[in-house]
Amino acid sequence: MSELLEPAAKRVLALLPVLLGVSVLVFALTAVGLGDPARAMLGQRADPELVEQIRRDYALDRPIHVRYAAWMARLLRGDLGTSYHQQRPVGEIIAERLPATGRLALAATGIAIVVGLGAGVAAALRPGRLLDQLLMGAAVLGISTPVFWLGMMLSLLFAVLLGWLPVSGYGDGAWAYLVLPALTLGAIHTGTIARMARSSLLEVIRQEYIQTARAKGLAEWLVVAKHALRNALIPVVTVIGIGLADLLVGAPLTETVFAWPGLGRMLVAAVGQRDLPVVMGAVLVFAVIYVFANLVVDLAYLVIDPRIRRGR
């Protein structure tokens, strides 16, 4: 276990400059981007004096480096600031949405891993056959279909026409509400994992030690599960980690189509309103999730392949 702790600690330390860089970048982008948060707050008719007063109240009239320093000082005290629009702590706003996004991301990842890996293995065991072609065709479709369109089609079929599932919303956390958003969000990821699992497994299956295992008379499922799959997993795990970015990118669209009350939708609305503290907070949370997911992937390498752990 101690073999894992040291590299894990190193990677956690390496995260800090990454997060700092993300915060500087996002702050700079929001500051130089067009649009005035004070004006955006006041609807179609704005009193210019009130606009100026709001700019003063929120320190929007101060230089960007001063504002960044103030934001960072608050962040170090665990305070993400207050939303311009909602007049509430950003931490509270994010905490309200985090469970919904977490459920959706976990469900989508679960679907992607189970279905993607299953399809990839099944296709690899019968390369060139009809099943392989069907599964890989479906995988390409999943990767290339726009999330928004796929969501609308699934909703039309399963919710409006068949009436099996709800069209949209969070319900009271009922599973039925999760199915279509998770399938939609997981689609791209499923296809990528399936294709990677297939190609990786095919490569491993052709190696000599697999032939040896078969020659020993081991059952085919045992050869695949025990000897081939483990070695084929490294690139698949990498894809799972990278795929998390797809989930984060896809989340706002999926949440919009299915009226899912998550972080992605909140971020899109906050950008439109120029609610900078909320934008900063949400992006930072996304960055932390992404970076930590990659940390988990790195640690998974160490678990799956002892050679990496030993530095070979």
Binding site: R45, A46, Q273
Partner: protein, 524 residues
């Protein structure tokens, strides 16, 4: 009421007794929908229609507007207006309760107005004596709001202002209980307490707002037991939810109007009615080439609005020529505007020194994000090309768009206008008086001392035909000057289930938010 000084004008109106309104025990749930989560439920802070839609159900104002947009008593059971049209004296209904059970008093009116005057819509109160100084923080109170006794409040204006009663019906002028706002501070926005027919039951961010009947409302309990506003940002999802039977009211998605009207099931549920808005193409008249009236008129003659109304909007909006929409007092059906006439457009370009468009650099047309706006922009681009004008399209999201428009950094741009209250002043004075140049409304940066005088005169006149005539003459002059091109007047397009009764379709009410009083609605 106060000797000869006051002219007793009106309104001894019956305060509907508690059993009346709606009588009986509230029952049924209305399932409505919003496009976005309301940012706030505090009437002093709200600036968007979603927030207003909830605020109007949770709070009351001194007066309210009926379906014909006439002021009728609400918290005030009657009022009088002084002979010089500057002093309004409101007598409050007895026995009005806040949701906490506490009785409302005249002092609550003063507190609410002063609190809201330092909120996001100070212009609602700026006509009151001493309000500008108070709004700026230079005074401790608004002397124009006086509490005469427990049930009487007197409002004094700096100058007569005919639409003042409309302002008193605006949701920014809602009455709030002082102790709750002080106890809750900023949290009042999420735990609002009013006197409205409904009170807040639940607010799950980005998911739903639930309000429930307030049995002690001064008009009696509403018919409905509960209203659930789902928050669904995608219009096609709202449509699917309506079709799946999950919503009782919704809007009609862009591009589906004709199909819905032809649908055997849905056609009986379609409701389309005019609202108080106009979609327009505007110019920054300070910047070349649109500081030249001939170029503005050339563009106006080159545009065919029927292609927008019939082609893009399937005839589900109202074609128009003038600035004022048909549902607004002062609408002039006889107004004339430069019509679609390419030969005239080419002639004007020639006169302006740009024969066939030669010598005229490409013009950037700014518009805010939205599929419809994009399609309109492309249509305008094609139409203007016919007379030699090259249009480059610049699409920005609303916050960025409004900033460049307010600052005058654009030359030609899309900007509609929706009246806050039904008076031509809220269109013409706001949009074209030189004191409002920029963010206050006059984004055309139009300056005409003559029109300013005309607006000042009309704004201070008592309501009536002579006042309307002044606004109509101003509207004609602006159109003749090519400062505004109407593409169409807004209409609200909704789907309403037959079981929903009593949902007002006034020009102030827009789908899907339905700003109408839901206390009148029942589910059968």
């Amino acid at each position: 009421m106060r000797g000869g000084r006051l002219l007793s004008l009106l309104c001894l109106l019956l305060a509907a007794g508690p059993a009346g309104a709606e009588g009986g025990k509230p029952a049924g749930t209305l399932r409505g929908v919003f496009i976005a989560d309301p940012p706030t439920l505090d009437p002093a802070q709200a600036t968007d229609t979603t927030s207003s839609a909830v605020v109007r159900q949770l709070f009351d104002t001194l007066v309210e507007l009926d379906e014909r947009l006439q002021p009728v008593p609400a918290l005030a059971e009657r009022w009088t207006v002084s002979r010089d049209q500057r002093v309004y004296t409101f007598v409050l209904r007895p026995g009005v309760k806040f949701h906490t059970g506490r009785l409302m008093r005249a002092a609550d009116v003063k507190f609410s107005f002063e609190r809201a005057a330092r909120g996001k819509r100070p212009w609602v109160f700026e006509k009151l004596v001493g309000a500008p100084a108070f709004i700026k923080g230079a005074a401790g109170e608004i002397p124009g709001v006086r509490v005469l006794d427990e049930r009487t409040v007197e409002l004094t204006l700096e100058a007569p202002f005919a639409p003042f009663l409309f302002l008193m019906a605006y949701d920014a002028a809602s009455i709030v209980p002082r102790e709750e706002t002080e106890r809750l501070g900023a949290a009042f926005a999420t735990r609002p307490v009013g006197t409205g027919a409904f009170r807040l039951k639940e607010w799950r961010r980005d998911d739903r707002v639930v309000i429930e009947a307030f049995a002690d409302h001064f008009r009696g309990a509403p018919h409905l037991e509960r209203v659930i506003f789902r928050i669904i940002p995608a219009e096609i999802t709202r449509f699917n939810d309506y079709k799946a039977g999950n919503l009782d009211v919704s809007d009609i998605p862009t591009g589906h109007c004709r199909a819905v009207k032809a649908d055997p099931v849905l056609k009986g549920q379609v409701a389309i009615w005019p609202t108080l808005g106009t979609h327009a193409v505007r110019f920054n008249v300070e910047k070349p080439p649109f500081n030249d009236r001939r170029v503005r008129l050339a563009v106006a003659h080159a545009i065919d609005p029927t292609a927008v109304v019939e082609g893009l909007l399937e005839g589900c909006v109202i074609a128009g020529k003038g600035i004022l929409p048909p549902s607004l007092p002062g609408y002039n059906a006889a107004v004339t505007a430069p019509g679609f006439d390419r030969a005239r457009a080419r002639q004007l370009m020639l006169e302006a020194g740009f024969p066939g468009g030669r010598g005229l650099p490409p013009i950037t047309y700014h518009f805010n994000t939205g599929d419809l706006n994009q399609r309109i922009a492309e249509l305008l681009q094609a139409q203007l090309k016919e007379v030699g004008i090259t249009l480059e399209l610049r699409r920005l999201d609303w916050a960025a768009h409004i900033k460049v428009v307010d600052e005058g950094a654009v030359t030609m741009f899309r900007q509609g206008w929706i009246a806050d209250y039904p008076d031509p002043e809220n269109f013409l004075t706001v949009l074209f008086h030189s004191r409002n140049v920029g963010a206050a409304g006059n984004t055309s940066r139009y300056r005409s001392p003559d029109l300013d005088r005309l607006f000042d005169q009309a704004d201070a006149m008592p309501a009536g035909p002579p006042r309307i005539k002044l606004y109509q003459s101003a509207e004609q002059r602006i159109l003749d000057d090519g400062a505004w091109i109407t593409l169409y007047h807004y209409a609200s397009r909704a789907l309403i289930r037959p079981s929903v009764k009593g949902l007002e379709r006034s020009p102030l009410s827009t789908a899907p938010e339905f700003l109408a009083p839901l206390r009148k609605v029942k589910i059968e």
